[in-house]
Homo-oligomer: 434 residues x 2
């Protein structure tokens, strides 16, 4: 039986999952592929480190360059992460004429154009299903399944840690810091959770999604990103009362004038299927011209779910190698990128939830309403709560019709200067199922 040779770069969590999956599912993989996938080399930084899987020590090496260049290797699987060592390794593999499978969203969102162009020049494949939503085959759905359609909008829950934290906050009424600490103890959140709860990880993934959906590169600094760390239990109570749940969304939409891309916690109606995506699970909701809405759901992180994507990519590249088609099928959904402008943040439109803390004085609501009206922000509903304790500010909660980020920013700045407003406003965007 033919063998496809693979070099793994990295033997951490995902690398161990890849080794385990190749072993556990070897019979099924061989029956599907008509070939054996053989790991020829595993490059690691530290030979002495304890590993989660048994690997023949004779193939483990710290010599990354030699592992990449081996004659008996067809595919290099990059599982190092980050943008520097990984970039060098991937470009080196491509330079050696090796096909690449990578799980590295940071690499592709920052150096994607360089990597794909090098691969096209060298006639090699770069596959990256694991970069977004792990084993849920989102990349294939967008690149092949919806190749005939025109994608108009995508709404993704693409960070499992954030979704887990918001689900816990909603279901148990617990504050952010408590849930985060528990998630860290349970291993759901990193010791440094910034990339997850700050939205940066979701922005990496959104950049890859916009490439697939709209054929355009959206640089990370053009994606507006708000984390989930400023949410408090009281906002979950209001969300529930208004018929919403709060989800950590990555949103991209196409407009005549360009593409919008943003990451922020969002109130969405309870009857939208995305609202039922709980815990650490991920999902992507796509609205396209001819199909209408479609949704893709599953585990978006973890050792084995991520390994599914990597090994499925290895299998598909192997099929291409056997069909002598490797390097000749499109890696992005567009043959040539069709770069589109990215809309300025100030022009983006949403509905909004706003919570104000004000002194219990007559006329305050009128002042707020006037400032909003002056900025073309039209109020949908208002709830004013009396002070629960004498010294506390009164809470005014407003939901609005659609307005622009620019107008909202200016209005909030002016509201912040009102003498009766004694707390910074809390603002959460609202999205409806398109």
């Amino acid at each position: 039986m033919r063998e496809i040779g693979v070099t793994l770069l990295g033997l951490g969590n995902v690398g161990s999952g890849v080794v385990r999956l190749l072993t556990d599912n070897a019979p099924a993989i061989e029956a599907r592929l008509g070939a054996r996938v053989a790991v020829r080399a595993v490059a690691v930084r530290d030979l002495a480190k304890a590993r989660k899987v048994d690997v023949d020590p004779s193939i483990v090496t710290t010599d990354l360059e030699a592992a990449v260049a081996r004659d008996d290797v067809d595919i290099v699987c990059e599982l190092i992460g980050g943008e520097t060592v990984a970039r060098d390794a991937v470009l080196r593999a491509i330079g050696c004429g090796k096909h690449v499978v990578t799980a590295n969203k940071a690499l592709l969102s920052v150096h994607g154009d360089e990597v794909f162009e090098a691969a096209e020049q060298a006639d090699v494949d770069v596959y990256y299903e694991a970069a977004v939503c792990a084993g849920v085959p989102i990349i294939r759905a967008l690149r092949e399944g919806l190749a005939s359609d025109r994608i108009e909008q995508v709404y993704g829950i693409v960070n499992g840690t954030s979704n887990f934290i918001l689900t816990e906050m909603a279901e148990r009424g617990r504050p952010f810091a408590d849930v985060l600490a528990e998630a860290q103890r349970a291993g759901y959140a990193e010791a440094d959770p910034t990339l997850d709860v700050g939205g940066g990880d979701a922005a990496h993934k959104l950049s890859i999604l916009t490439m697939l959906c709209f054929g355009t590169h959206v640089p990370l600094d053009k994606i507006h990103v708000d984390g989930i760390d400023s949410l408090t239990p009281v906002d979950f109570e209001y969300a529930d009362r208004f018929g919403y749940v709060i989800k950590p969304l990555a949103i991209a939409r196409e407009h005549a004038e360009g593409v919008e891309a943003r990451v922020h916690p969002t109130m969405i109606p309870k009857n939208w299927l995305l609202a039922s995506v709980s815990g650490a699970k991920n999902a992507l909701y796509v609205k396209s011209y001819a199909l209408g809405p479609s949704l893709y759901y599953g585990a978006g992180a973890g050792m084995m779910p991520t390994a599914v994507a990597c090994v499925s990519d290895v299998i598909e590249v192997s099929r291409n190698v056997q069909a002598q088609a490797a390097g000749h099928l499109p890696m992005r959904s567009y043959r040539r990128m069709v770069n589109r402008p990215v809309l300025d943040h100030g022009r983006l439109r949403s509905r909004y939830y706003m919570r104000f803390g004000v002194l219990d004085r007559p006329g305050v609501l009128g002042q707020l309403a006037n400032v909003l009206g002056d900025h073309e922000i039209s109020i949908e509903q208002v709830v004013q709560e009396g002070p629960r304790e004498a010294e506390r500010p009164v809470r005014i909660v407003v939901t609005t019709h659609e307005a622009t980020e620019g107008n909202v920013g200016h209005a909030l700045e002016q509201i912040g200067k009102l003498a009766a407003v004694v707390e910074p406003a809390v603002v959460i965007r609202i999205a409806d199922a398109p």
Copy 2:
């Protein structure tokens, strides 16, 4: 720019959608493919029939054989439906060395082996994304996305008409016949609804799913099929009370002894994501070894959603043609089918909901419970309702722990003979999220 020539067989609903999508999305399709898709011929039965789209009359013909054999055609798109004319046309196209795109689930579930083997012999592609869940890219997800994983169980809402009817019955408490009549008036259900509400259409799709998931051919007569036409509003009330909704499910599971496949209305817990799939929408819930659960959702029927699948297949085959890989990539997920036994219906296991109509006499519940116990059917909960009117039978509703179809069948037969049991038992299987 290179052109890929296409012949359409059939210009009904789906054929018209394909023409419309190729026209409306031509710029995006060209940007993605780097080639133009040109419809060279459209074979129809009746030239005089009114059409939903404008097609150059000079390419419309009743000469199917000539349309298939044209030298300037690479891909034949079969949109005739049925198993006879369509089978001949597809085999003829393959014989002429043409690649085939088909939306025909009946053809593939009955003649799939013959079609795929002919295609493999002739080195041509047969793509069929539209055969299951229309434009939702289920086929690609199973064949490529989960190629590395071992699929254990699939639960599909794969018939939109049935899901629409059950959703209406649940939400409005209306009887089956009323909702069906309304669905027929609105065009959601065919004049002859048997294939939809009787479960036959879902069985066709399930046969294709078992091929993709387990590499085995399950003949239609080995799939146990119950329609949704015997459900009554009172069963929806009990479902709701017990925390369930009733969904029309196609289920396939792998066991050590073989594969099980069945289609029937099923009570599932409200918090399972499948329970939130309402109206005419479809979804497939897949449980696999390494990824765990994943779900794929969207429109499973309709002119444009079905066209999305067909044209995406045309694009992918065109990509293969350009890469000179057409005919060399796997069309089924397994390179060689790994035929597995199909479990006999009597051995399948479920939990059950059972509703009995009995005379209001002492000891009846004991008699029922004894018969169930004698057949190793263990009761989970019982509800007994007093007669609402004097002459009416008393209602006893039971949910059970897991039991076999065989034992349940025997028990119900015996219960039917009890003097106090005056109505045929209503039985609905219960499934939990795996």
